[in-house]
């Protein structure tokens, strides 16, 4: 599941969560295939973001792409934590961050 801007959601993708309007009224349920009409209706009701299924309407990322994203992410984590190496708790946090984000990219 991922959160996307309504403007960037496309017909054919699948809603991952129930979508309600500002008053909490249900517009459509999780699992609904998004159509141009539903997306227009969301925009009309100023719903800015939607949760969609990761696989909906998209080809799965290739292993090479996944590895490239992981490598880029690990570099970002190294940069973020630079200078905290002498703190044992920060080292542990960095390792947990790598595990969490790496698993997220793999999904």
């Amino acid at each position: 599941m991922k959160l996307v801007k309504t403007d960037e959601a496309r017909p054919g993708q699948k809603a991952a969560r129930d979508v309600t309007d500002l008053r909490g009224n249900l517009l459509f349920k999780a699992g609904t295939d998004l159509t141009a009409e539903l997306l227009a209706s969301c925009k009309e009701r100023t719903i800015s973001h939607l949760f969609i299924e990761d696989s909906g309407g998209e080809a799965p990322a290739s292993p090479v792409d996944v590895q490239a994203r992981k490598d880029s992410l690990m570099k970002d984590i190294d940069h973020m934590f630079a200078g905290t190496e002498n703190s044992p708790i920060m080292v542990s946090l960095k390792e947990a961050s790598r595990r969490y984000l790496s698993a997220k990219v793999s999904k």
Binding site: T20, R23, A96
Partner: protein, 292 residues
Amino acid sequence: MESNPHQLVQEKVRKLVDRIQGLPTLPVMMTNINQMILNPRTSPKEVAHVISNDPSLTSKVLRVVNSSFYGFPNRITTITHAIVILGFNTIKSIVLSSTIFDVFRRTVKPGDFDRTQFWKHSIGCGAAAKAIGRRLNYPMLEELFIAGLLHDVGKIVMDQYMPDKFAEVISTVHSRDCLISEAEMHVLGATHADVGAWLFEKWNLSKGLIETTRCHHNPALAGENQKLAEVIHLADILIRAMRFGNGGDNKIPRISDTAWKSLGLQASDFDDLFVQTNAEIERAMVFLDFIK
């Protein structure tokens, strides 16, 4: 007589905020609700009447109370019903959050500070604070969420009311590759934490919210609110490590050793805290609607 470091920072904050023209006051409706809730004889119907005078606010409150953030099985259709079920303080927190999102709606041209990423960081911090609070059996998870949600509000104040100086701060973050609080000290002599706390003081908000905002980078200074500040301090760092949203820099502050010992958590708790925070974020995404 010599000034102590705290007085010096306060003086710098005073000089800084003196340059801010037209900073908004807390809306009258919020002030009224605060006063009404202090009166033990106030009824839910009376508070609901004040909120219901603002249809936009009413729909936002109903959307939040009916969201998975609270997870009630049956639909709540009136503000009075919401107050009876959730209590005055929870409704007050929702109204306060909505009010702050509205008061600081961007009115200047977008600069380098990404507000959507900022609010995502803030919501994420609130979610992480709740996850930590659950682990610690902290009694008031709602208080943690709101303190996390609003801990960085000083950045928005500066972005909105002194955009040129704040652009210089962001530029310094990039050129020095440093934390935003370090860039703020370099450019302004005070940080978003000082400015946010000053605003909340001016708005007469709770001592807990003021001290947590002021001390989220140094929770040992938060006095009787130290535990609350420690949770927000850790939540701010956890959500950076999860790379959810962005508060204006790409570095991570160190966890205070004192705060870490005081909270009594273990390094082995991080993995589970990430998972629990992620679940809390999904429930809290309804707050992103506030920035529309």
